[in-house]
C-alpha cells in the first residue's frame, strides 16, 4: 500500500532521508522511531506528498510521487489521516466544526456530515465536547479531536507525527490505545515517536531512522 523505493530527499546541510526502501502493508501498524532530527517527519511528509523525493519514488495506494499531478494531491490527502504533535486544530471553530472539515472539503451533505461526526465523537467518547473550542480542552482532549478529524474521512492510513509529544503519560497511553483500536478496524497506522518507553512491547513493527538512514 505504501512503498518507498530507494528514496532520497535532502534538506540543507545534508539532513534528510537517504536511499530509503521499505513497504508498509494495508492495515499494518508501524512505529517510526529515531532521535529528533533523524528524518521521521520527512518520511511522513513524503507519504502525504508535501515534499517529493529527489531520487526514487514513493507510492501510496495508486498515487506515485514521480507521476502525480498537482491536482491529484488533494485526492491523495483525502485518503490519508494526519495527527500532529501540535494538534493543528482551528482555534476559531468548535470541536464539531474541526472534525467536519475533511467532510466539507469532500463536499458531503450536511446530514451525512452530522451523522459521521457524531459517530466518531461517540467512538472516541468525546460527544460531550462537540460544542467546545480547542482552547477549552486539555492537551489530551485536543489530540483526541485531532485523531477524530483524521478518522472521520475513513482513511486508508493514519500518519501520526509525534502525537504524544506534548502529552502527559496517561494521555499518551490513551492516544496510543485509540490508534491501536483504529488499526484493529483495518486502517494502517504509521506513528513517528522518539518515546521508546511508550511504544516498546506493543507488538508492532518498527522502522528505525538514524541520520536519514532507514532500517527495519
Amino acid at each position: 500500500m505504501i512503498w518507498f523505493d530507494n528514496v532520497t530527499c535532502t534538506f540543507v546541510k545534508g539532513a534528510g532521508l537517504f536511499d530509503a526502501t521499505f513497504e508498509i502493508e494495508k492495515g499494518e501498524f508501524v512505529f517510526v522511531i529515531g532521535p529528533t532530527g533523524a528524518g521521521k517527519t520527512i518520511l511522513l511528509k513524503l507519504v502525504y506528498m508535501e515534499i517529493f523525493p529527489e531520487k526514487g519514488k514513493v507510492v501510496v495506494d495508486k498515487y506515485n510521487s514521480s507521476k502525480i499531478k498537482q491536482r491529484q494531491i488533494p485526492l491523495l490527502r483525502r485518503k490519508v489521516g494526519m495527527v500532529f504533535q501540535e494538534f493543528e486544530l482551528l482555534s476559531d471553530r468548535n470541536v464539531f466544526e474541526n472534525i467536519a472539515l475533511p467532510l466539507r472539503v469532500r463536499g458531503e451533505k450536511k446530514r451525512e456530515i452530522k451523522s459521521k461526526v457524531y459517530h466518531v465523537l461517540d467512538e472516541l467518547d468525546i460527544s460531550n465536547k462537540a460544542s467546545h473550542y480547542p482552547s477549552e480542552l486539555s492537551g489530551g482532549e485536543q489530540q483526541i479531536v485531532s485523531l477524530a478529524r483524521a478518522i472521520v474521512k475513513d482513511p486508508i492510513v493514519i500518519l501520526a507525527d509525534e502525537p504524544t509529544g506534548n502529552l502527559d503519560p496517561v494521555s499518551s497511553f490513551k492516544i496510543l490505545t485509540l490508534l491501536e483500536q483504529i488499526n484493529k478496524e483495518g486502517t494502517a497506522v504509521i506513528m513517528a515517536s522518539h518515546n521508546y518507553n511508550l511504544i516498546k512491547d506493543r507488538g508492532h513493527r518498527f522502522i528505525e531512522v538514524v541520520d536519514g538512514r532507514v532500517s527495519g
Binding site: 485526492l75 482551528l90 472539503v105 463536499g107
Partner: protein, 289 residues
C-alpha cells in the same frame, strides 16, 4: 455541489467577522477614498447635464447671398443638415426676416425701401450628445464651403471656453478616479494578503485534509467582493452626505443644485465589486500557492 458552494460563501462572510478589525480599517479607508470618486462622478454627471443644456443653446446663423431665392436657400439648408454634428437647420426666408425686422424695430421694410434687401438665412443647432470635446470650427468651415453662403455668425469664443473648462474638469475627475481605483485595488489586495497570512493555520489545515486550491481560495475572493461592496455602499453614503452639504452651501450663492443620480451610484457599486473581485483574485493567486 450546491452545499459546498453555500458553505464557501458563508465562510467568506465568516472570515470578514473573524478579521473584523483589519477588515473594518480597510473598508473605512477604501470608502473614504471612493466617496470622492462617487462625489466626482455624480457632480460630473450633473455637470454633463448642464453642458448638454448649454450645448442645446449653441446655435449659428448662416446668411445666404441676397440674390438667391428662398427655394435655392432651402436646398442649401438641406446640405447643412447633412453635416455631421448638426442637429437641425431651420430656414428663415426673406419674408420671415422682414417680419422679424418689423417685430424688433417697428418699421416695415417695404414701406421704407419698396423692396426687401434682407437675405434668406438659416439657424443651425448642434447635436448636444457629443461625448468628446465639442468643436464648432469644422462645422463652420464646411458650411462656409457651401455655395452662396455669405456669412456665418456664432459665439465661437464662448463655446470654446465652455468646452475647454468641461474638458479640464472631465480629465481631472477621470484622473482622480483612476488613481483612487488603483489605490483601492492595492488596498483590497493588501487586505486579502494580510488575511491569508493571518489565516495560514486554516489554509494549512484545509490543504492537509485534501482541499483543492479552488476550495481554499474561494472564501477569500468572496471576502474581497463583500469588502468592495460594503466599501462602495459606504462611499455612496458619504458622497450623498457631501452632496447634501454642498447643496446647502450652493443654495446660499446660486440656484444650482447637484442632483443625486442613482444610476451612477449603482454603476459605481458594480464596478467596485468587479475591481474587488479582480484584486482579491490576484492576491490569492499570488499568495496562495
Amino acid at each position: 455541489m450546491m452545499e459546498t458552494f453555500l458553505y464557501l460563501i458563508a465562510e467568506g462572510f465568516k472570515n470578514l467577522w473573524r478579521e473584523k478589525l483589519s477588515v473594518f480599517a480597510s473598508i473605512f479607508a477604501i470608502s473614504i477614498a471612493m466617496s470622492f470618486v462617487v462625489f466626482g462622478g455624480i457632480t460630473g454627471q450633473d455637470f454633463s447635464r448642464i453642458i448638454k443644456v448649454a450645448r442645446s443653446q449653441y446655435e449659428l446663423q448662416v446668411f445666404f447671398s441676397p440674390v438667391i431665392s428662398d427655394s435655392e436657400a432651402s436646398r442649401h439648408v438641406d446640405e447643412i443638415i447633412k453635416i455631421r454634428g448638426v442637429k437641425s437647420a431651420n430656414l428663415v426666408t426673406k419674408q420671415e426676416a422682414a417680419e422679424i425686422f418689423e417685430r424688433e424695430f417697428g418699421e416695415n421694410l417695404f414701406d421704407l425701401l419698396r423692396e426687401n434687401p434682407l437675405p434668406s438665412s438659416c439657424v443651425v443647432k448642434f447635436d448636444e450628445n457629443v461625448k468628446k470635446k465639442f468643436d464648432v470650427h469644422p462645422i463652420v468651415n464646411q458650411i462656409k464651403m457651401i455655395k452662396d453662403v455669405e456669412e456665418v455668425r456664432y459665439q465661437g469664443r464662448l463655446i470654446t471656453i465652455i468646452e475647454r473648462y468641461y474638458q479640464g474638469f472631465f480629465t481631472i475627475v477621470t484622473g482622480i478616479f483612476v488613481i483612487i481605483l488603483f489605490g483601492t485595488m492595492i488596498l483590497i489586495f493588501n487586505t486579502i494578503r494580510l488575511t491569508i497570512y493571518s489565516r495560514r493555520d486554516l489554509i494549512r489545515a484545509l490543504k492537509l485534509v485534501g482541499a483543492t486550491n479552488r476550495f481554499v481560495r474561494f472564501p477569500f475572493m468572496v471576502e474581497g467582493m463583500i469588502e468592495g461592496f460594503i466599501a462602495a455602499m459606504l462611499a455612496g453614503s458619504f458622497a450623498y452626505g457631501f452632496i447634501r452639504v454642498s447643496n446647502y452651501f450652493l443654495a446660499v450663492f446660486t440656484r444650482y443644485k447637484i442632483h443625486w443620480d442613482w444610476q451612477v451610484m449603482w454603476q459605481f457599486v458594480g464596478l467596485m465589486v468587479l475591481f474587488s473581485l479582480i484584486a482579491s483574485r490576484q492576491a490569492v493567486r499570488k499568495f496562495l500557492k
